[in-house]
């Protein structure tokens, strides 16, 4: 038996779903949020690496709920790649909170730079100006700490960040010097972490264990710590954790009617709503639409043009690490022994190249940070495998060297060129523990992505070398960060070439919205969490207006 109908049913409570829930609740509309994962409280966030990183606290186990993954032309392998956290707040709970904005050129990439051959880059149906006020709003509602400094690649903004920057490790000043010596600009990285108490939340205590952990102080600006409590406080929003959406049904007119889901006890339920919103990540929203088949939509909900799941985007990834021996260099480099966690420096000098002399035009961002402190992860990386693997005395010596060193690293958030061969489908033959066909990801990297990433990694290594470390090791130049995902339901003006309109509403199902990273036509050269939240605030305003009609 169906539950009472509500105004809006939102599937997912992360960066996409939570802003909508908050704004709709404030406007007086009745909202139900269905969240697949558990509703953890602050006290549940324990610095336990086994729980956080090695079990199903955040990510499902690959035998319970696999994704399928293949490079084009290869068979599928099962993996837990491309999941983000399954819990109230989604990926914002364990994020590091690098809160960058996109730049105006990201919205007009095809016009400004052209679409490289083999890519299908398009302009966005909105401009940076359209989104800018909602970036302001997202930064204020979530709580972002930073310092906007003028630099040649700065995006326009109406003022500084709502909170002053977090205290920095003294190495940040060393990075500033190194970048300056090379003619570049090390700029402060804004963080979704509170530097001061804010709206009833506590400030960061600099515990040093941040990214990949939940924050037991609520200082990290996850939606679970910021927007969700505010949404619940409106009295109009009901959040149901451990509820797995199976399907969005349609009525005789082809409008979205209800969400069929399994509740916390595994019992099937039906939630009807005037508007239904999918906000469960680019990969999982595509999967939900593709699994929502009906006689009106035999290829999946809103998929008349076959584009649902297409144009999947990740973030191009590269990384290098500089090792400084504390034992050997501690006297010479007194900052080595400081224990502050945050480096918060970025380089955007190569966000857009003035010409194609290096083979590419659209680049990205380098973010500097201390190596992740998770000792299990570090030790597995040190032990390695295959011919390069070590064990026994050799391994122990390496672990002791690690103990006596500090590792400064950078990672790349680079443009990931969209193309016709990178997409999400569903595999009817492989089902998860709920009996639902799983998402099947096919990926084909554009060669320019690697050209670009290698160029950025080379520049980052020049910065590290200028700091005179004991050694610099390259981790790689040809990766993708799958927790940063977008595409699959492109928004655009033309119903023939996009899934959503400029307001993130389905072109064909007029009361269906997809509000997470799925709308993104291009990846940009920054992590996208803030952009996803800002866009959700933008869509919320449109949706409130349409509901009031």
């Amino acid at each position: 038996m169906a539950k009472d109908s509500v105004d809006v049913c939102i599937i997912g409570s992360g960066a996409g779903g939570a802003p909508l829930a908050l704004e709709l609740g404030r406007a007086g509309f009745k909202v139900v949020v269905l969240e697949k994962g558990a509703w953890y409280q602050q006290a549940d966030f324990v610095h336990d690496e086994i729980m956080n990183s090695r079990r199903n606290f955040f990510m499902p186990l690959p035998w319970d709920e696999p994704h399928l993954w293949r490079t084009e032309g290869q068979p599928y392998a099962r993996t837990n790649e491309a999941w983000t956290a399954n819990c109230v707040g989604g990926g914002t709970v364990h994020m590091s909170g690098y809160f960058y904005r996109l730049k105006p050129i990201d919205f007009r990439q095809k016009t400004e730079l052209g679409a490289p051959k083999g890519s299908n880059v398009v302009d966005w149906p909105i401009t940076y100006k359209d989104l800018a006020p909602y970036y302001d709003k997202a930064e204020a509602e979530l709580g972002v700490s930073g310092n906007a400094v003028p630099h040649p690649f700065a995006e326009p903004r109406s003022g500084n960040y709502p909170l002053p920057p977090l205290a920095e490790h003294p190495v940040s000043a060393e990075i500033d010097k190194a970048a300056k010596s090379l003619g570049w600009h090390a700029i402060p990285t804004a963080r979704g972490i509170l530097s001061k108490p804010y709206r009833g939340r506590d400030a960061c205590v600099y515990c040093t264990l941040c990214g990949s952990y939940g924050c037991e102080h609520g200082a990290k600006s996850s939606t679970a710590a910021s927007l969700i409590p505010a949404a619940i406080a409106t009295g109009n929003v009901e959040l149901r954790p451990k509820c797995m959406a199976k399907e969005i049904t349609v009525d005789a007119k082809g409008l979205a009617k209800s969400v069929i889901y399994l509740d916390a006890d595994g019992v099937e339920q039906e939630q009807p709503a005037r508007i239904i919103v999918s906000s469960c990540t680019a990969v999982e929203s595509a999967r939900l639409l593709l699994n929502s088949k009906s006689s009106r939509f035999p290829n999946g909900l809103g998929n008349d043009n076959g584009l649902v799941g297409k144009n999947l985007l990740f973030s191009s990834f590269g990384q290098s690490k500089a090792t400084f021996s504390v034992a050997k260099r501690g006297a010479e480099l007194p900052w080595l022994t400081a224990n502050m966690p945050f480096v918060n420096r970025s380089l955007q000098d190569f966000y857009v190249m003035p010409d194609d002399r290096f083979g590419f035009r659209k680049g990205g961002t380098l973010g500097f940070m201390w190596a992740h402190p998770n000792p299990i992860f570090a030790a597995v990386g040190i032990a390695r495998k295959g011919e390069n693997g070590v064990f026994g005395k050799a391994l122990k010596d390496k672990l002791r060297t690690y103990r006596d060193s500090r590792v400064l690293e950078f990672e790349i958030y680079g443009e990931f060129l969209s193309n016709d061969s990178t997409y999400v489908g569903v595999d009817p033959n492989v089902k998860d523990k709920f009996g639902l066909p799983v998402a099947a990801i096919t990926i084909k990297r554009h060669p320019l992505d690697f050209t670009m990433t290698k160029f950025l990694v080379d520049r980052g290594e020049e910065v590290l070398q200028a700091m005179n470390p004991d050694k610099v090791d390259r981790v790689g130049t040809a990766g993708e960060t799958t927790i940063l995902q977008g595409g699959t339901c492109r928004f655009g003006k033309d119903a023939a070439t996009s899934v959503l309109d400029a307001d993130c509403r389905s072109h064909v199902v007029k009361n269906l919205y997809v509000v997470d990273g799925s709308f993104l036509p291009t990846s940009g050269g920054v992590p996208l969490t803030l952009t996803i939240a800002a866009n959700s605030f933008r869509v919320a305003q449109k949706m409130v207006a349409s509901l009031k009609k």
Partner: protein, 225 residues
Amino acid sequence: MTREDELDALVPAPDGDDDITRRVFVHHLTFFGGGVVLLGGCKEDKPAAPPPALVKAPLTVSHKTFTDAEWATLSAACDRMIPRDEDPGALDAKVPEYIDRMLQTEALQQMRANFVPGVAALDRRAQRMFQVPFAQAKPEQQDELLTLFKNSGEKTGEARWYEMFVVLVMEGFLGDPSYGGNQGEVGWKLVGFNLVGRNVKGDPKAPYDGSQRLHQLVCGGGKGC
């Protein structure tokens, strides 16, 4: 089936995972510390046969996942992975106890099904090569065998088992002591992990139990978790 390929059968290789080598360095793992391959492989499409009874033979010590023979093999292998020298090693941290206890977790039965037969295979290989059980082989011989598993090629069952083994050892050596390993925090001391706050706001008097907490939070203490 020959003995040489028995591990391939026991630890089925996911189809066509050529790209996994490239992806292993990928960022995802930066956060999630091991991820995909390491969690152990794949589930058969047809319903898996129920795992063998949790206790396979009369056991004389506290281990539940492994037979006495497997336990001896596992302990010896852990000892070669992180031997005691001037600093404590895997046995001091009680890494085998951690692995034994962890593989009792209901949610990890798939991993258990992949891992345990590899321990037995290691022992059989020792018998064949050195005519003694792995635990009674000389340290150099044990190292030779572990190296053989380690280097046996990306797609082989031996290499997959070795990868799983490394991760389990590191979890047991460097994980929260409440899971049974890292006793006396000897692993954390070795790598200088002194940032541990656990829950900074937690009650220092209340003992923390990660397994129990996880069980409560993820599945509400119910079955199948």
